[in-house]
């Protein structure tokens, strides 16, 4: 039905996919499996016309095709249902289904009646009895997903790609989704199903393809495999890892969390974090592993005071309980957070390296408590530019002109300037080159040796294993493992990351 032949894709020199070969079997559910960053989303975006620049061929219905855009792919019959749904919240269900393909009468005026009729028909096929005039914002996420599927049915798609379709819906809605998938299969639709959840995959999928580091490493029949085999294929790297060996159980406790919970801001009955308790010791590097959406970033944000209204539980720094209701409070308590997205959350891109570094500690470069001193600022920032070897011709250069690795170092520098006791790093090496990565690892180890406590959130298993002294694993908002590094292996960590109960 749909076949990828030697697909390769690079993003500004970095290889995302290399020689991918896979076949989506017609009328079947094809599971696409892989770790974060294995290349699943990139491949699906090529299939659905989001990326038009790539090497290799896509064979569709026996002919090579090249989609210039999403519209072209849709017209050819390939629909994608993104993890973040692509609906306009303030339009009605029917308006969303027909967006861009409105039915008009002889005068070019919208034929609302006809569209609503057709919408009702489509929704009925999905066992969803809603008024097509309901605004999308007013229905639940699971139902919005059905609207997306209705949209795909309307465009008469023969291939439907579902990216993590169950990440935001309830168990009951999952059951409904599966019966709809079964029905679509009966109608002869081909389905590509991306998910981390093995239980689901064994229920719903017929075939599987495993991607790792941008390449296809295995494919076959779901019936003839097991979860263990799939996990091994997903990780199966052979990298020599130098684990750290120190033991910090007896070191003083820097940070301790007791029963930290975080309510969902919009759905008060669901928890983003449930009863998280752990300790961080002086000089320790704590790795925090989990799959996308496990709640790791939310946990860092909760510690840093970014969810004052929805977080509950107790956070203590050096044995004294702190009320942390804002980043200011967190900084005051000696906590620093290097956020996940340096461009959106870490840096003021159009401002200089110096300005970015000194932003957190402006009172330190003031004279007479009023006037900012350029000389003091330069002293401070050049210290960190040297210490972290930030490569820039001058501290006055705009942050956006530096490479990703150096930008990340600026963000780390601005937090080191606050002299934190506890450093939270959320995906500190995402999107930066190997050299910068190893420099950041070295820096982390040096800081830990000076007595700082570090929590590193990462989706990369080798990184977690190489840098951490102890590893916490999260799954669906809960802590599922707390392992000394000696007991941690890639397979072990992945197992805890995938399964909430009895791994």
């Amino acid at each position: 039905m749909l076949e990828a032949k030697n697909i390769s894709k690079k993003f500004s020199g970095v290889t995302a996919l290399s020689n991918i070969n896979l076949v989506l079997h017609p009328g079947k559910v094809n599971a696409i499996i892989g770790e974060n960053g294995a290349g699943k989303s990139t491949l699906m975006k090529i299939f659905s016309g989001v990326y038009a620049q790539y090497e290799g061929d896509i064979i569709y219905k026996g002919k090579p095709v090249k989609f210039a855009g999403t519209r072209a792919a849709e017209e050819a019959g390939i629909a994608i249902i993104h993890q973040e749904l692509n609906l306009v919240p303030y339009l009605t269900i029917s308006e969303n289904i027909f967006l861009g393909r409105e039915i008009t009468n002889a005068f070019g005026v919208l034929d609302k009646k006809k569209m609503n009729e057709k919408a009702r028909e489509l929704l009925a096929r999905l066992n969803f009895s809603a008024d097509p005039d309901t605004k999308v914002a007013a229905i639940k996420v699971g139902q919005q997903q059905l609207v997306e599927i209705a949209k795909a049915l309307h465009s008469d798609a023969s291939v439907i790609i579902m990216d993590e379709p169950t990440s935001a819906i309830s168990d009951k809605e999952v059951d409904n989704l599966f019966s709809i998938i079964a029905q679509l299969k009966n109608e002869g639709k081909t389905i590509a199903y991306i998910s981390h959840k093995f239980k689901e995959l064994f229920t719903v999928a017929d075939h599987y393809v495993v991607l790792r580091d941008g390449a296809t490493v295995a494919a076959g029949d779901m019936q003839h495999t097991t979860q263990e085999i799939l996990i091994e294929k997903m990780t199966g790297r052979n990298i020599l890892i130098q684990k750290r060996t120190a033991n910090f159980q007896d070191a003083p406790v820097l940070l301790s969390l007791k029963n930290v919970c975080l309510r969902h801001p919009e759905l008060p009955s669901t928890n983003l974090l449930t009863n998280i308790s752990f300790t961080l010791h002086k000089g320790e590097i704590l790795g925090m592993y989990g799959l996308m959406g496990a709640g790791r970033t939310e946990l860092m944000e909760a510690i840093f005071g970014l969810h004052p209204k929805n977080a509950t539980g107790e956070i203590a720094v050096e044995q004294s309980v702190k009320k942390i209701k804002s980043p200011c409070d967190a900084i005051g308590a000696g906590i620093a957070l290097v956020p996940e997205d340096r461009k959106l959350q870490g840096l003021i891109l159009n401002q200089s390296v110096n300005t970015n570094i000194s932003l957190t500690v402006l009172e330190k470069i003031e004279r007479w408590g009023l006037l900012l001193s350029a000389a003091k600022e330069k002293d401070l920032t050049s210290k960190y530019i040297n210490k972290l070897s930030i490569k820039t011709s001058s501290g006055d250069k705009a942050a956006q002109s530096l490479s990703g690795g150096n930008q990340q170092k600026i963000v780390i520098a601005k937090w080191l300037a606050t002299n934190p006791k506890i450093l939270l790093l959320d995906e500190p090496t995402r999107g930066i080159d190997i050299n910068a990565k190893s420099e950041i690892y070295k820096l982390m180890k040096a800081l830990a040796a000076e007595g700082m406590g570090i929590i590193m959130v990462s989706s990369e298993l080798p990184e977690i294993l190489a840098v951490s002294d102890r590893v916490l694993v999260m799954c669906e908002g809960e802590l599922t493992a707390n392992l000394p590094i000696d007991n941690a292996s890639e397979q072990e960590l992945l197992k805890y990351a995938i399964h909430k109960n009895n791994p």
Partner: protein, 324 residues
């Protein structure tokens, strides 16, 4: 100096160059333009807009906007005149409080600051978009002006009060001195203080600023009240110059202020621009107005030209951005 930094400096000074070219052209077109008297005249005319636009710059740098400054100017001008002339009267308590000039001016500026705080409060606490919050204040403040004045001017405020708007100090009009002090203070704040850094940081990337521990709401409250207080100072100057508080004073002044900010190269998206740029922008508008009057261009055409200049300024600015 490398070519790229050379170009960057060029783009930084492009509004100065534009002003320079404009002056040269006008000098050739009319003898009346390049005279000391006319120069002083232009400066006097732009002083009020410089005050308002300076406050507007601080607000726009945080990626906000304040549409209410014209109405706030009218209300605070009326309050100055009212306090001077009638003081505060409480007949029920048989109480009358009279005001000196300084007292009346301070009263008006404080009222302005409080109105700005309201703007800031709506924007930070209730997340009302700045455009909407200050649009509401535009109507509210104008309404209060009408209520306070009963729709009639408050006139004959005395010769010593008139000094503020019409007097000279060392040969230079007092409003120009006031505007100069305002500008220098604002330059000092933006370039030399924590508050200034925070203003730029919030406009440059509000999320990063928040994560850096900056109290965003506090900074916004300060800039909106500063903006309105500066509009109040503008109101004092206008009232003094006319020796009369007009209920419909300051109509569409917010547009002139925003125009000065934009022509001066400050980005409406925040985080980029300067008070100096705004001053140049205000002077460009002033020179343009003045020159077109001297050339006997009809007022209708003056508006068309002003609009075209604003558009041109922004287009040139965007082109400069792309090259970088």
């Amino acid at each position: 100096m490398t070519t790229s930094s050379y170009k960057k400096n060029l783009s930084r000074f492009q509004s100065v160059i534009a002003l320079f070219v404009l002056c040269i052209v006008l000098s050739f077109l009319t003898d009346k333009f390049f005279t000391a008297a006319n120069g002083v005249n232009v400066l006097r005319q732009v002083a009020v807009n410089v005050c308002i636009a300076t406050g507007m710059t601080l607000i726009v740098l945080t990626a906000g906007i304040d549409l209410s400054v014209g109405s706030v100017l009218a209300l605070c001008g009326a309050i100055t005149a009212g306090l001077l002339k009638n003081g505060l009267q409480f007949p029920s308590a048989d109480l009358y409080i009279g005001f000196t000039i300084l007292g009346a001016v301070l009263g008006a500026v404080i009222v302005g600051g409080v109105l700005g705080l309201f703007n800031g409060f709506a924007i930070t606490k209730f997340k009302v978009p700045p455009f909407v919050a200050t649009l509401a204040m535009l109507t509210i403040a104008r309404g209060f002006t009408m209520l306070y004045t009963g729709g009639h001017p408050i006139s004959n405020l005395g010769a010593s009060f008139a000094y503020i708007g019409a007097g000279n100090f060392i040969g230079i009009p007092v409003p120009v001195w006031i505007a100069a002090i305002v500008v220098l203070l604002a330059v000092f704040i933006t370039k030399k203080t924590k508050l200034g850094r925070y203003i730029y940081a919030i406009g440059g990337n509000e999320t990063a600023a928040k994560l850096s521990g900056i109290r965003i709401n506090r900074v916004k409250l300060i800039v909106y009240s500063l903006g309105a207080a500066l509009a109040a100072i503008g109101g004092v100057i206008v009232t003094s110059r006319l020796d009369s508080a007009q209920p419909n004073a300051g109509l569409s002044y917010e547009l002139d202020a925003i125009a000065a900010v934009v022509i001066g190269g400050t980005s409406l998206n925040g985080g980029k621009g300067s008070v100096w740029g705004t001053v140049i922008g205000a002077v460009i508008i002033g020179v343009l107005n003045n020159g077109l009057v001297l050339l006997n261009v009809s007022p209708f055409w003056q508006q068309v030209v002003k609009g075209a200049v604003i558009l041109l300024a922004v287009i040139i600015d965007k082109m400069g951005d792309k090259k970088e």
